[in-house]
């Protein structure tokens, strides 16, 4: 390979890396009627082994708006199907129970199930009571490895003090995906402030490195599915969807890229 072709390959790789970075930080936007959802998400680190898997952190989020300023419908279901190259490994993680962390502040919930914490995020909502100025309600999200009615689940514990102290727990059921997707997380959301509120945004990142039976383990592991010779691969990172009370269901396939981590 001549010097010129080498320079071209480096330049291409750099462009691909930039594109990869850009896609990780970017958002997929989908709209139906006046309702618009911006999904964000990705994995980190971006450099992953071609063969085998390495610990990763998965980030996922969604922002809900309307283009005409009306209040969005209530978000009632979140679904996230993760590419089968990413694997959950819950072995050795203690399971927390619903009643242990709800209701509770973040601090109390973590203190109750410290070893079950597997992630964190934020949650925002707006409450528009009749004749009342709308006020935001924001909270922190803490993810716990959990057990609920005999099932293995992920709890997303939401706690906020504004405007009043309140907590909520979203139960993400885990199921096997199909095709390109290995694991699907699905949660049904309760109504926010009865019929007067709406979720405006939610984000969650999952990661946990822990030791079990003398070995270091990670909640999530993934590899880079780049074909032989290629240093960069683009893949369908996840299929995300939000289901709303009015029947609308907005979803996207989030495409991300990775680069092969050199041994």
């Amino acid at each position: 390979m001549g010097r010129r072709s080498t320079r071209s390959a480096v330049a291409l790789a750099a462009v691909l890396c930039l594109l990869a970075s850009a896609s990780l930080a970017g958002a997929e936007v989908t709209q139906e009627g006046n309702l618009r959802v911006s999904f964000t998400g990705g994995i980190a680190p971006n450099a992953l082994p071609r063969k085998g898997r390495a610990p990763v952190k998965v980030r996922f989020g969604g922002e809900i708006k309307t283009i005409d300023g009306q209040a969005p419908p209530q978000l009632r279901e979140i679904s996230l199907a993760i590419n089968r190259n990413g694997k959950f490994d819950f072995r050795g993680l203690p399971a927390c129970h619903y009643h242990q962390i709800h209701p509770a502040s973040t601090k109390e919930a973590i203190a109750t199930c410290p070893d079950s914490v597997i992630g964190e995020g934020v949650f925002s909502a707006h409450v528009e009571l009749p004749e009342q100025s709308p006020f935001p309600s924001a909270g922190s999200v803490t993810a716990f490895n959990g057990a609920f009615h005999g099932r293995h689940v992920i709890f997303a514990h939401v706690f906020g003090t504004a405007p009043l102290p309140q907590s909520q727990v979203l139960v993400f059921n885990l199921s096997k995906g199909s095709g390109a997707y290995g694991t699907t997380l699905t949660a049904e959301l309760p109504r926010v402030a009865a019929e007067w509120g709406y979720v405006s945004g939610v984000s969650l990142s999952l990661s946990k490195v822990f030791r079990y039976k003398g070995k270091q383990r990670s909640l999530l592991v993934a590899g880079c599915p780049a074909p032989g010779g290629a240093e960069v691969a683009a893949f369908n990172f996840a299929r995300a969807s939000f289901g709303f009370e009015d029947g609308r269901n907005l979803g996207v396939t989030m495409t991300r890229s990775c680069r092969v981590k050199q041994p």
Partner: protein, 616 residues
């Protein structure tokens, strides 16, 4: 005929000089002038009979006059209104006499107002009745002498007394007025000699038509929390527009003790014939124009009264002011004015709105100069327990619809002598585990001789979170005002016991829309009066906090707030309540400025369960 008022000043009592001249024909071959059969004097609108004139006045009956006989009249001296002089060519000396007031309804015209012209001649008495017609709506006055004797005279001069108790009052505003006269001769009774006599009113024009009523108000014993008579007085100057309606808002905390008070039955309320037990005060009025208005009640006449009555014009209570319209020789029955009594539901301020005041009575315009209400039933009026300066405010409306808003500051003292140490207890009913919903009960008790509550703030412990999933709905302010809150917006019940009412005030507790970031928690207390107690909801150090910023300055011996539990509970445990005591943080401020803070433990069922277990 030339009727001339004694003054050109506006809105002033005035006497009157009336001269009727019938010139005799001196020509030897000429005809004599006809004798006068009837005279009519019509005064301009605005020139009316003065109520000030009747104070101390007396009247003469037909019997005392002796119409139809030649006996000397025996009218009381107090009945005299003026003098009369009659010059006739038949007599050397003029006839001298008096003009006296005739008794109401006991005169040849069976009218309310009449006068007699009584003059003594040589061996005879001239007795002439004259009718006074007063327009029942405008008070315009017409004086009619009819069927006069065929006595030839050259001049009749009537001189009605002047001064502050003169019988007439000039118009309120300056202008060129005219007095219309008609003289009917016996010769041609249908062909009167009509004339208009100018009556310029061009002095004392200032103030005519303005409206600047003044207010005085206060309590006799200005000690905080004391029971004391209350006086409210509205005055207006001569010439200003007359009073029509009076609305008074008492200062915060100036309230009434209705416990055991008899209420005037509705079937007699309109007549003012209320039982003595319902009387709470008296009323005094000064009516008329000039320096000596007529004060009602007059000595020796029936007293006035202020009665407490039932619902009126949407208000839960009313006051009935009964003023016997008796003055001098006149008795016009009772003037009854009803005043709706309502309470500001937030501040518990008493708001009294009078009906329109009568403007004319039997043709006599009532110019209100001084209206004084004295609420003096013992133990009825209760003073505030706050010593801050507060105000009696009013909206006083004139007959032309002009509004004035005079107010006066009021202040009581000795607030420091009042204690302030109410006790607030809490208990929750429900499971004690994390996630269990709670029915919260708060009980406030106050002691005797304590200042009333001004502000109370309760911060619940961090162990109790908002159960947001149970916020079914809230009552909008529009719905609340229409008393139409949805059932789902009821989250509790409240009851307030006050020593001033026969029954407790009680009602539902709503979440109601507000201008605060969160809906307010509102106790809609209903009973003899309706009170709404609104608490602002927010958080403090991660705990739910409720603040009642405006608590009425009224004594409450016990207040109970019960929030619903179960599926309507707004409170959920964020931890096991039995692990450690849960305490509320209470900050209370009395109306006298004293503060009382507490950290009461919230009573749970933890102890009870273990007790039961031990028994088993």
């Amino acid at each position: 005929m030339t009727p001339l008022p004694g003054t050109h000043r506006a809105h002033s009592p005035t006497g009157l000089d009336v001269s009727i001249e019938v010139p005799s024909n001196e020509a030897p071959d000429g005809f004599s002038a006809s004798t006068v059969k009837r005279t009519v004097i019509e005064f301009p609108e605005g020139m009316t009979v003065s109520p000030s004139a009747v104070a101390g006045l007396d009247a003469c009956s037909e019997a005392q006059v002796g119409l139809g006989n030649n006996d000397a009249p025996t009218c009381p001296s107090g009945a005299k209104l003026g003098n009369v002089t009659i010059e006739t060519q038949l007599l050397k000396d003029p006839l001298q006499g008096e003009v006296v007031l005739a008794k109401q309804k006991e005169n040849p015209f069976n009218s309310t107002y009449a006068v007699y012209l009584l003059a003594k001649g040589l061996g005879f008495y001239l007795k002439l009745p004259a009718e006074m017609n007063l327009d029942q709506e405008t008070g315009q006055l017409r004086v009619i002498f009819d069927n006069l004797p065929k006595l030839p005279f050259e001049n009749v001069h009537l001189d009605f007394r002047g001064g502050p108790t003169a019988p007439l009052v000039t118009p309120n505003t300056c202008g060129d007025y005219t007095i219309k006269t008609e003289v009917f001769p016996w010769a041609r009774p249908n062909e009167p000699v009509v004339d208009s006599v100018p009556m310029p009113i061009n002095e004392n024009c200032e103030g005519g038509g303005e409206f600047n009523p003044r207010l005085q108000a206060g309590v006799e014993n200005p000690v905080a929390g004391a029971k004391s008579p209350l006086v409210i007085r509205v005055t207006r100057e001569d010439g200003e527009q007359n009073l029509s309606k009076i609305e008074v808002t008492l200062p915060k905390g100036e309230i009434a003790n209705l416990k055991g008070l008899e209420v005037c039955p509705e079937d007699v309320a309109a007549s003012g014939n209320c039982p003595a037990g319902s009387q709470v005060g008296i009323a005094t009025s000064a009516l008329g124009t000039g320096a000596f208005p007529l004060f009602v009640p007059q000595a020796g006449k029936e007293p006035t009264a202020l009665y407490f009555a039932g619902p009126y014009k949407g208000a839960p209570y009313s006051l009935i002011t009964k003023v016997p319209a008796q003055a001098g020789p006149f008795d016009f029955g009772d003037i009854v004015v009803r005043t709706a009594i309502d309470l500001n539901p937030v501040t518990a301020q008493v708001i009294a709105k009078s009906d329109p005041l009568p403007q004319i009575l039997e043709g006599v315009p009532i110019q209100y100069r001084d209206v004084r209400i004295e609420v003096k039933k013992p133990d009825f009026s209760v003073n505030p327990t706050s010593c801050e300066q507060r105000y009696v405010t009013t909206t006083i409306t004139s007959i032309d619809g002009t509004e004035a808003h005079p107010s006066v500051p009021t202040k009581v003292g000795d607030c420091g002598a009042l204690n302030f140490g109410p006790k607030l207890k809490f208990k929750v009913k429900g499971g004690t585990n994390r996630g269990d919903f709670q029915a919260l009960t708060a009980i406030l008790k106050t002691g005797k001789k304590e200042a009333n509550m001004s502000r109370v703030q309760v911060a619940l412990p961090h162990a109790l979170f908002l159960a947001q999933e149970h916020i079914g709905t809230v009552c909008t302010r529009v719905q609340f005002a229409a008393d139409n809150c949805p059932a789902a917006s009821v989250y509790g019940f409240a009851r307030a016991i006050t020593p001033l009412l026969d029954k407790p005030l009680e009602g539902p507790v709503y979440l109601r829309s507000s201008t605060n970031p969160l809906p307010d928690l509102v106790a809609d207390l209903q009973g003899q009066f309706d009170i709404e107690l609104a608490g602002r909801i927010d958080s403090e150090n991660g705990g739910i906090r409720n603040t009642f910023e405006t608590v009425p300055d009224a004594p409450v011996t016990k207040f109970v707030l019960k929030m619903k539990g179960g599926k309507k509970s707004l409170i959920v445990n964020s931890r096991n309540l039995c692990l450690a005591p849960v305490r509320a943080k209470v900050r209370m401020v009395g109306q006298n400025g004293k503060r009382h803070n507490e950290r009461p433990a919230i009573q749970t069922s933890c102890g009870k369960k273990s007790k039961k277990g031990k028994k088993k």
